[in-house]
Symmetry: C2
Subunit: 506 residues, 2 copies
């Protein structure tokens, strides 16, 4: 019996161990498959490659083979990547970040629907995506009575296990067996008209059981694996990120002084990536203690706040670490098990809870415009980057919503502050504070023209400030003075970049 | 003692009766004033005119006089109108619909911040709009122990009474005294980190008391009035509205058949206006019984569903009737008092509750684009119409979110389906079903290009269909195939209208 087989304590389920190829045989062309995984954690490691092989064999034989794939969020090369390279994905939702798949989406070869991460489970349960044929879910183990021990991401697993007609599990021996007890799986949200309040009132509270439930009769097979998650490395915070972080921390201090934030702030949500990580790293040396986290993805920065004692608890739907942070996590897991709570993404991203808890939402953006609209998803208005993820869930419902970005990209050829964003993910109604390394614009309580002056003066890169002022001045002269725009110029910066590779006029 | 004075049962408060002019004397230049009123109901009838006179006198003497005015939603000519004509408004939030004020906003003479109606109270309580100097609130009466009986709109009154340093009440004898007991004033939402679940689990449930609470020491004066609300007349449903209504009702029937809606549907939210009213009128003869309403504004159509027995209860923050419907309401108020529940707008529009109850949200729009983004607020991208109101609260959190509009406006010169909306209030992520008199596009579970084909084929007016297809075809050829656009043409239809008065190429 392998190490992974020992993770299956339920005798009957041990009988269901099959190979990845046998599992792939259960997946047919055209099926909708609900797959586990969130930000490179907790995705299946073996079956996707077997499905990809099956697809390639079918294609070689002149037969169609593609699946409709719905996950928690992004997975990794062994899942999205291998399936995309085999041309095995016809439809994808709600979030992805794989380079091959992204190219297919932007070439029109794969359809993608970008959905708020708090919405996807409800919409699937309600049948808005049709039937779910198979769920393919990684777990860390199975108890003697058949309860599933979540892996490093809970994501949409509750719903996929409930909704799918058949279930394939991957039991991954490389996930720490001591994860048992860390998760808090509230699985009774259901659908209206039978819903009750979700009883969570503190970010660190537990309200349910640590196990995922699955009707054991639906389990069509269990595949054993022993493979690590994506575990991407973080860059050390650079000057750019440190500057953004320092401004946010100053802003927090000011809000505490004004009585608009408690001394230990409010639960922190932090988007994925280096800038977000830098903000959390900055809090390590900041004046705030007894912090709490309530976020989608817990990464290195938040782990270190917990380990240092600055943060008392953190709630997340996925743990996505660098290899070094994963080592620290595994070393301290006995202490961390009570301080980190892994929840379904329908809980971490739930508008009810984000609003109630008064989350401070901090998310990265591709660009913002002078009125505070934010584009989180599209390059030059047409090409999908990754997806909106949970940024809308947090920005809309947060007590304070921040969007951060360096003020320029591509060596200065792209301004992240533009006259009009080329795609709107977060409207002027949902964006409270914009921060670049140039400065911070506090947009609360301000009209569009007041916002425009602030954003241009405080956030835009000096190389673009005059051009933005010129646009705004001429738009004001053209009339329509609530939100002045020149419609035939509003998107011209993006068009210029498409044509010349530079937003600046040469 | 006047009829209105009899409405003040509290002896001490009767001593505080003052004239509108005395009340206006309490308002100084630059003050932030929280004013009651929601969609032409429950706004103060006398003091605004007195403030306007004070402003005019100040201006005549060469002195500045403007107030910052925050309400529930729109008021009426006697409030927004009279103050705007006196140039007495420097800043306005969160929603308005007065023609004079709208012109001032679009001329740059008044600043306006367009805020989700569920957000405004929280942001004011948190201090994001600074101090609130005075609250000016209409009530229907005051009990012997000093509790306030809400008028026909609750709106933001809970928060304005809590937050303002001073309170001026208007007691309006023309509001039906039998309103006492109709409202359900849950006033303990507060701010994080001390929040609890809002215990509402059914649209028609009562969870609190029927009275507004105010610290009596803060009451600086009470003004007696005897004046009716705006009571705008509705147009009888025309063929256009009837067609949109019939399609929505067919869609409901289909969803019930598919098991995606219960036989009595889910609680209905309906935006303001003739099309919304037509949908509700259509339900009068539809196959659905035991309907429930959970909406911001209860208008004629929903009242008649209750009176006919088709709808068992309706929750709203304002009752805004035509004169005829108001008569029916007053005639049947003893029966209606238990079936209609007037709540704070922070409750009617709360994301926690809209999500939990599974509301069906139906809202009007100015325009939608081929990818399903919706503009609810701006004319040709720059000029504010009224504001986003609660449409975002509902669209984002609803179980089903509809946006409706005739397919053309201005005699065909404006297409309501455009290549790209000129302002984004609801993004592609929040719009499930678009309906025009031409047809319905069910966007659920579809990628942007699938949505585009559906919207063009089903919703666009035939006069614009070829031009939309041509745009979409050429955008696809240009690449960027997730959301194909031609950036230098995306807003050209609006620019053409600005230049020629017609979106069509002549």
């Amino acid at each position: 019996m392998t190490n992974a087989a020992e993770r299956i304590q339920h005798a009957g389920l041990r009988q269901k161990i099959i190979s990845a190829e046998q599992a792939a045989a259960l997946i047919e062309n055209g099926m909708t498959v609900g797959i586990s995984g969130f930000t490179g954690a907790g995705y299946p490691k073996a079956v996707p490659a077997a499905i990809a092989e099956k697809a390639q064999a079918a294609h070689a034989a002149g037969k169609p083979f593609k699946i409709r794939m719905i996950t928690g969020a992004s997975t990794a090369d062994e899942c999205d990547g291998v399936l995309a390279r085999a041309n095995a994905i016809s439809f994808r939702s709600p979030f992805q970040s794989d380079p091959t798949l992204r190219n297919q989406i932007n070439a029109g070869d794969a359809a993608y629907m970008d959905v708020h991460l708090s919405h996807i489970e409800q919409q699937v349960r309600a049948g808005f995506f049709g039937d779910m044929d198979v769920a393919l879910v990684e777990v860390a183990g199975i108890t003697a009575d058949g309860k599933l021990i979540p892996s490093l991401a809970v994501g949409t697993n509750v719903t996929w296990l409930q909704k799918a007609k058949k279930v394939i599990l991957e039991v991954n021996a490389q996930q720490n067996a001591k994860l048992e007890g860390m998760a808090d799986i509230y699985d009774s949200i259901g659908l209206a008209p039978h819903r009750k309040p979700i009883p969570l009132t503190e970010a660190g509270e537990r309200i349910a059981t640590p196990y995922l439930h699955c009707d054991l009769d639906k389990i069509a097979g269990i595949v054993l694996t022993d493979a690590s998650d994506r575990n991407s490395k973080f860059a050390d915070p650079d000057e750019m990120s440190k500057s953004i972080a320092a401004q946010i921390i100053d802003f927090f201090s000011h809000e505490v002084k004004m009585g608009r934030l408690p001394a230990n702030l409010l639960p922190l949500q932090s988007g994925v990536g280096n800038v977000a990580n830098a903000v959390l790293a900055g809090l390590q040396d900041g004046p705030f203690d007894n912090l709490t986290g309530y976020t989608e993805v817990l990464q290195d920065g938040m782990l270190d706040l917990i380990l240092s004692g600055k943060m008392v608890s953190a709630s997340a739907t996925a743990l996505s670490f660098s290899p070094e942070a994963l080592e620290r996590f595994n070393k301290h897991i006995d202490e961390l098990r009570s301080k980190i709570i892994l929840r379904p993404q329908e809980i971490t991203n739930n508008p009810e809870l984000i609003r109630r808890l008064g989350i401070i939402g901090m998310n990265a953006m591709i660009e913002a415009d002078i009125y505070g609209n934010v584009n989180s998803t599209h390059i030059m208005g047409t090409r999908m980057m990754n997806g909106i993820g949970g940024s809308g869930d947090f920005a809309r419902n947060a007590y304070l919503s921040f969007f951060v970005s360096p003020s320029v990209a591509k060596g200065g050829a792209i301004s992240c502050i533009v006259p009009m964003v080329s795609h709107h993910d977060h409207t002027e109604h949902d964006v409270m504070v914009l921060v670049t390394e140039q400065g911070l614009a506090d947009l609360r309580g301000k009209s569009p023209r007041e916002r425009a002056r602030l954003i241009i003066d405080n956030c835009a890169h000096p190389d673009y400030r005059d051009a933005l002022r010129d646009y705004f001045d001429r738009a004001e002269k053209a009339g329509g003075l609530h939100t002045p725009h020149l419609l035939n110029e509003a998107l011209s910066w993006h068009q210029r970049f498409v044509e010349t590779g530079d937003m600046r006029v040469k």
